[in-house]
C-alpha cells in the first residue's frame, strides 16, 4: 500500500494546473479574498503587532509582503507574520473534517514564496490548493483522536500542507516533496492548551513558517527521514494519530477543500448556525416578536450563552445578543458592530430578554434550530447546519459582503479582482500590504 507520504508527495509533484477543477479553484478564490480580508482587518490585534514587530526587528531580505504593512520581509518571516495575523481574529475559514483552519496556515506560505520567486498565478493557485487539500487530508489521517489528545490541527496538519505548498512553489521533485514532509514532521506542532491565548493564532503562523523553511532547506539538499510522517515513532504514531488510511481516498480527484466553511459572523462559531437559521427567515418585524427559542448542541451552552453581556467582547459569545442584533439590522459580519454601546441599546435589550436557549443533543455541533413566536400567534421556524453545502454564488456573495464589511468596498473589490488571477501574484501581494 502506498504510504501517506508517497501519496501526498505524488499529489504535490504531479498535479497539473489543468487537473484542478473549476469548482475547487472557485472556492480557493473565495478563501484568498477571505484570508486577505481577515488578515488586513486583524493587523492591529496585539498578537499580530507583537509577532510583526519581532520579525521586523530581525529584518532581512525584503522579498515577501505583510498584510497591511509596507515593509517586506524574507518569505519565512512573512509566512510567520501573515499566518498569525490571518488567524488573529479567529474569523478565517474552517474545515470541520480537518478540524482546523487550512487557509491561515497554508496560503501565507504559498504567497510568500510565490512573491519571492515571481511565480505565475496558475502555479501559485496550484500550490495553494494542493497545500490546503493536503493539510485537510493529513488532518483527517491524524483524526479526531489526535485533536482530542490535545493537538491543534491548524498547527500540526497545517505544517504539512504549508510544506507541500512551499515545495510546489519552489519546484521540488516528488522525492524532495517527500523529504520536505519528513523534515517538517520534526517540528510540526500546536496545542489546544493554548486556546484563548495569542499562541492559538501563532500556531497558524508557525505552521506556515515551518513549511517554508522545510522546503527551502530541502531545496538546498537537506536530508531528513522522508517517512517521518508515518514511520514507527514518526509524527503520527507519537502524536496520537489514528492513521486513517481512508483519509487519502480520492486524493487528486475529490477536493475536500471545497467543503471549507467561511465564517460570516464576527462572533463565536457556536452562534453561526442560529444566525444562519434566522437569516433564512427573511425580514421579521422586531416589534412583533414575542419570543425567540434556540436549540443547540449542548457543548455550546458553556461556550457562547452569555445571557446579558455588557461588553462588545461578551456580545460575541451570546445567543441572546447576536439574534436581536440580526433581527434589528446590525451587521453581524462587521467587527465594529460588537460594542459596549450595542449591549446598552434599549431596543436590543428588550429583544434580548425574549431569547431562550436550550440544549438538544440530537443536533450536531454544526446545527441549530430556531423558533420565533410572533405576538399575533404565528411561529416562524428554521434549522441550519453549517456543514450543509452552500451554492457557489451564495457563498461568493457572502464572502464578498464580509470582505466589504471588513475593508470597505474599494479594497475588497480590488482584492477580489486580483484573487481571480487577472494580475500576477505580485499584484495580489501589493494589494495585501497596501490595504
Amino acid at each position: 500500500m502506498t504510504s501517506p507520504t508517497d501519496r501526498l508527495a505524488g499529489f504535490a509533484a504531479t498535479t497539473r494546473h489543468a487537473d484542478l477543477p473549476d469548482s475547487a479553484r472557485a472556492v480557493l478564490r473565495l478563501s484568498l479574498l477571505d484570508v486577505a480580508a481577515v488578515a488586513i482587518a486583524g493587523r492591529n490585534e496585539p498578537v499580530a503587532r507583537i509577532t510583526r514587530d519581532t520579525a521586523l526587528a530581525e529584518a532581512g531580505v525584503p522579498r515577501a509582503s505583510l498584510a497591511g504593512h509596507a515593509t517586506r520581509l524574507p518569505p519565512r518571516a512573512a509566512a510567520l507574520v501573515n499566518g498569525t495575523t490571518a488567524h488573529a481574529l479567529d474569523y478565517d475559514d474552517t474545515h470541520f473534517a480537518h478540524i482546523g483552519h487550512p487557509s491561515a496556515a497554508v496560503i501565507p506560505a504559498a504567497l510568500a514564496l510565490a512573491e519571492d520567486r515571481g511565480t505565475g498565478w496558475a502555479e501559485f493557485e496550484a500550490a495553494a490548493l494542493i497545500g490546503v487539500e493536503a493539510s485537510i487530508r493529513v488532518g483527517l489521517w491524524l483524526g479526531r483522536a489526535h485533536y482530542q489528545h490535545g493537538f491543534h490541527q491548524t498547527g500540526t496538519a497545517g505544517a504539512f500542507g504549508a510544506a507541500l505548498a512551499a515545495a510546489r512553489i519552489v519546484g521540488l521533485s516528488q522525492d524532495q516533496c517527500a523529504m520536505t514532509l519528513g523534515l517538517v514532521a520534526a517540528r510540526a506542532s500546536g496545542l489546544k492548551a493554548q486556546f484563548g491565548t495569542m499562541a492559538k493564532p501563532l500556531a497558524a503562523g508557525i505552521a506556515a513558517a515551518n513549511g517554508v523553511e522545510a522546503a527551502l532547506l530541502v531545496e538546498r539538499g537537506f536530508v531528513a527521514n522522508p517517512h517521518a510522517l508515518e514511520a514507527a515513532q514518526g509524527f503520527g504514531p507519537t502524536h496520537a494519530g489514528v492513521a486513517d488510511a481512508t483519509a487519502f481516498d480520492g486524493l487528486g480527484q475529490d477536493w475536500l477543500f471545497e467543503g471549507v466553511s467561511h465564517k460570516f459572523h464576527a462572533c463565536c462559531h457556536g452562534l453561526h448556525a442560529c444566525l444562519e437559521a434566522a437569516r433564512s427567515l427573511g425580514a421579521v418585524d422586531a416589534d412583533s416578536i414575542a419570543a425567540i427559542a434556540v436549540a443547540t448542541h449542548p457543548r455550546w451552552l458553556s461556550v457562547c450563552n452569555q445571557p446579558a453581556p455588557t461588553t462588545g467582547l461578551g456580545a460575541k459569545f451570546s445567543y441572546a445578543t447576536v439574534l436581536p442584533m440580526h433581527l434589528l439590522g446590525f451587521d453581524t459580519a462587521d467587527l465594529g458592530s460588537y460594542t459596549d454601546a450595542l449591549c446598552a441599546d434599549p431596543g436590543l435589550r428588550a429583544l434580548r430578554d425574549r431569547v431562550s436557549v436550550t440544549a438538544d443533543d440530537t443536533l450536531p455541533e454544526t446545527a441549530a434550530r430556531l423558533r420565533v413566536d410572533l405576538s399575533g400567534g404565528e411561529a416562524l421556524e428554521a434549522t441550519h447546519d453549517l456543514a450543509a453545502p452552500m451554492p457557489l454564488d451564495a457563498r461568493q456573495a457572502r464572502v464578498r459582503a464580509k470582505a466589504t464589511a471588513l475593508l470597505g468596498d474599494g479594497p475588497a473589490g480590488r482584492l477580489w479582482d486580483l484573487a481571480g488571477g487577472a494580475d500576477c501574484v505580485t499584484g495580489f501581494a501589493r494589494a495585501l500590504r497596501e490595504a
Copy 2:
C-alpha cells in the same frame, strides 16, 4: 505543590550569579570550549552548510556571530545555525539523565542574545548555566518514557532550557519566564525517527531558535498559557511525559549539569567506554598483543560492531578498528584520524583481526570491560563506566586536548581563555566566528 513551570521560572528569574557554585561554572567553561570547538570543526558538514546558507539567504540585522563564518545574523537565526552546527558532528556533550545534548541546544541561544544585547560575562554565564540545568531538569521530568515513545529530548527539553536562557539574557521577570516556557511549549519538538539524518542536529538548532523567539515575543507582551508545560493537554501530558516531580528536587542547590559527559573520541558513543578502558591500561606494546576481548551492553552490537570497515565513516562504528587505533597511537579525538586509508593500514588490520566483541547484559549501556592478552601470557584488564564522575583537572585536560585536536593549539587556547570570562561575550563571539 509548586508546579514545574513555577519552579523553573523562579529558578531562572531569581538565581544570582553569586549563587552559582564554582564547580558548576568550571564545567560550563569546559562546555563553552567544547561546544565552540565542535561547532567550528563541524562548520563545513553538509547540514551546517545548508542550514547556514538558508539563513544567510534571509539575512537580517547582523547582531549575532556564527561558528566559523564571518557574516552575522539576527539572534534567532544565529541560534538556529549554531545549534545545528554544534551538533553536526554528534561530538558535543551529553547528559545521560536528561537523555540529550544540553549545550548544543542552550548555549547558542544564550550566546546569540548575549552578543545582541551586550550582556556582561557573569550574566551570560548565569543564563547559560540556568538554561542547561533547566533543560536537564525538564528532560528528567519528561522521563525515559518520553524518549522511548519517540521524542528527542535534545529538541524537546532543550527548547525549554533555551527559552529560559534567552529569557534570562533579555531580563524577563519570573511571570514572564513562566510565559516564555508556556509559549515554547507550543512548538518544542524533536523526533528520534530523524536519527541518522541531518534533521537530528537540526533539532538542537530548532530548540535554540524556538527559545530565542519565545523570549523575544514575551518581551514584547506576548500572552500564552503560562502553564502549557504541565497543564492538562499541555506539553508533558500530550508528549508521553511521566511528570516525575522529583526531577526538580534540589533545583538551585544541586547542579546536575556538572554530571555532563564530554565526548573524547570522534566516533560512536558506544565505543567510548572501551576506549577509556584501553586508555586506563597505559602504553601497551602493540606487537605483543595476542588478543583483545571487549564485553559491552548488548544494544551496541547492532550499532557499532562493524568487524572490518573499509571507510572512515565505518571506522567510527567499529570496536575492531578504534581499539587498534588507540593502541597504535592514532588520536581518536581527531576527526581527521578516521579515514579510508586508516582502514587499509596493514598494522591496524593485523591488530583488528585479534579483536573479539561479546555482549554482557549485566553491564550498563555506559560501561565496557576490556581484556588484552599479551603474547607472553600476561593479561591486562580494565572496566570503564562513562557515568562515573571524573575529577575536574582530568576533564579539563581532556576537553582542552580535544579542542586542540580539532582546532589547533592557538585557536583552542584563545577560546579557552575567553571561556573563562577574561573578556566580554563579544570577544568570545568574535573568536567563534573568526576561528
